[in-house]
């Protein structure tokens, strides 16, 4: 089972939300959909989920066109929309029972209990949806998406609202799902996609910018490290660039420097000894997180 997206486009008024997007995702794979807010991730996922028709192009699940044979194709789909819409006045088990009924599951109670355990909802399973925290509501949304054991799972920003403990559980769940399913997972957080996905699709302004394996992304991130260091002196510290493994050094004014260090090297000890030697005090230092823009620049060259 796999998804084939072929040259899909969508225009709202005069705005091209998605333009000529093509890619494929296979069984056993988690494909990360990465892009800044407004890049076209949600519109693309809505088209792939079959509730928004592309103006042009074709989407198939296992060679079945979802717009020509929607009822057949949608049996294989599990979907968590971006804003996680839920019936707030229903109980957790009740809402799962409703979706089990829509899919005519043969053994609904057993399946509901299995999914409740799988997403870690057992303690909250007798509550009204509106009584749950955002993180647990998100789990209910994921439970609905995987309730009928679909072969294709689309998760639009599934980790929003989760605390760090919940994050690691959901990451593991997504990894486990991919054993026998095709999972597409959208996010605007690069580190999140790195931890969960096998392949990353980068989209911006509705256009595909690049598809890379996660190893390629990691390699890029490890290429160089940027440190911002602030010293207690405003005089020029030219000898900073003579430190071992420092590739370049630039003054940003007010005693702050941007130091680029070679891949995999630790300059902390050398930097400390240098400050003692020069008699300056290091007031602050921080390592720059790779920004989305810098990832785009690097990965789409």
């Amino acid at each position: 089972m796999g998804i084939e997206v072929h040259q899909i486009s969508k225009t709202f008024g005069s705005q091209k939300a998605v333009h000529q997007l093509s890619f494929s995702a296979n069984k056993g794979e988690v494909l990360g959909f990465l892009g800044p807010n407004g890049a076209g991730k949600t519109t693309s996922l809505r088209m792939i989920a079959g509730h928004l028709m592309p103006d042009e192009g074709r989407i198939t699940y296992n060679d079945v066109d979802i717009n020509q044979h929607p009822l057949q194709a949608k049996q294989w789909l599990g979907y968590l929309p971006e804003n996680n819409p839920l019936y707030m006045t229903m109980y957790v088990k009740e809402i799962l029972g409703f979706y089990a009924g829509l899919h005519k599951l043969p053994n609904p109670t057993q399946r509901i209990n299995h999914v409740i355990d799988r997403v870690g909802l057992r303690k909250e399973s007798n509550k009204l949806v509106q009584q749950l925290s955002k993180g647990y509501k998100q789990r209910v949304g994921i439970a609905i998406a995987i309730l009928h054991d679909p072969e294709i799972v689309l998760l639009d920003e599934p980790i929003s609202g989760l605390d760090p403990n919940q994050l690691s559980d959901i990451r593991q769940l997504i990894r486990d799902l991919a054993v026998d399913k095709t999972v597409i997972y959208s996010s605007h957080i690069l580190s999140e996609v790195e931890m969960t996905c096998d392949k990353v699709l980068i989209i911006n302004d509705g256009q595909l910018k690049a598809i890379h394996s996660i190893q390629e992304v990691k390699k890029w991130r490890q290429k160089k490290q940027v440190i911002y260091a602030t010293f207690d002196t405003k005089s020029e510290l030219h000898s900073l660039k003579d430190l071992p493994h420092v590739e370049s050094c630039r003054s940003l004014g007010n005693g702050q420097y941007r130091i680029e260090v070679a891949q995999g090297q630790d300059v902390r000890k050398a930097l400390y000894l240098w400050t003692v030697d020069k008699g300056v005090i290091l007031l602050e230092s921080k390592v720059e997180e790779s920004s989305m823009e810098s990832v785009f620049k690097a990965l789409t060259k």
């Binding site: 809505r46 989920a49 079959g50 509730h51 928004l52 028709m53 929607p70 009822l71 057949q72 949608k74 049996q75 789909l77 979907y79 929309p81 804003n83 819409p85 839920l86 019936y87 707030m88 006045t89 229903m90 409703f98 979706y99 009924g101 829509l102 899919h103 005519k104 609905i144």
Partner: protein, 244 residues
């Protein structure tokens, strides 16, 4: 699938305090008009009949049915749950059919207590049972068809708008126009004395009154079925538009 959708909506209605309260208000209002206030009191006539009930009830249903169905689709659209329904292996026509059937079940259950009025008038007749049951039966058939039309109109309004209150006001407007609008138009000098009969024929009240006489005419049945189909099709088109 349809049953799951119907069960969800019907259950939601009967577990909602607001919904049940609106039915209670309906019966309090009907009770006061038909049994307490003298103008339309069922106790004041020379003959035992339910004419006052069948005259008043459409006016109340014109508000009640839109209120019961205002969130049928508007709320699903506003909250985004329609997105989840549209990605399930069910067609838009099934969703609309389920919403319509739920609406009809709710109003049917809601109208069941009114059979007590029939029983009461039947018992109050002199002699007991002196009530035109054919006329009552025809009126109930007309009333059910009218309820179905109001439900279809309300679901259509709910499918057009994303806000419950807007959907409520719009459906009250179209129910009013459908019921009385044609009668009012027929009184314009343009039609009066020439086409007024046919203009009135287009209104719901014309066919409802016909059925109330105990005449189950195919023409009226087809009229109601056509109006229901037309508005449900309109709701279907509105839901399909969400995919565009």
């Amino acid at each position: 699938m349809v049953l799951a959708l119907i069960f969800k909506d019907v259950r939601k209605f009967f577990t909602s305090l607001v919904s049940v309260t609106s039915l209670i208000i309906f019966y309090v209002l009907m009770g006061l008009i038909l049994w307490v206030f003298p103008d339309y009191s069922l106790l004041n006539g020379y003959y035992s009949n339910l004419d006052s009930f069948f005259t008043i009830v459409p006016l109340v249903l014109m508000f009640l049915i839109p209120a019961l169905n205002m969130n049928a689709l508007a709320q699903e659209k506003e909250s985004g749950t329609i997105d989840l329904l549209l990605t399930r292996p069910i067609s838009s026509s099934i969703i609309i059919a389920a919403k319509f059937i739920s609406g009809v079940i709710i109003i049917t259950v809601g109208l069941l207590p009114s059979l007590l009025y029939v029983y009461s008038i039947y018992q109050l007749g002199n002699p007991v049972g002196n009530l035109d049951m054919g006329g009552v039966g025809g009126s109930y058939i007309g009333l059910m068809l009218l309820c179905m039309v109001f439900t279809a109109l309300s679901i259509f309004a709910s499918s057009m708008l994303n806000n419950n209150i807007s959907a409520l006001l719009f459906s009250i407007l179209i129910c009013f126009l459908g019921y009385w609008g044609w009668y009012l138009i027929s009184s314009l000098s343009l039609f009066y004395g020439t086409w007024d009969y046919w203009v009135q024929w287009l209104g719901f009240d014309f066919h409802y009154t016909e059925l109330g006489k105990g005449l189950i005419r195919l023409e009226s049945l087809l009229y109601f079925i056509s109006v229901i189909t037309l508005f449900l099709f309109g709701a279907y088109v509105n839901i399909e538009k969400l995919k565009r």
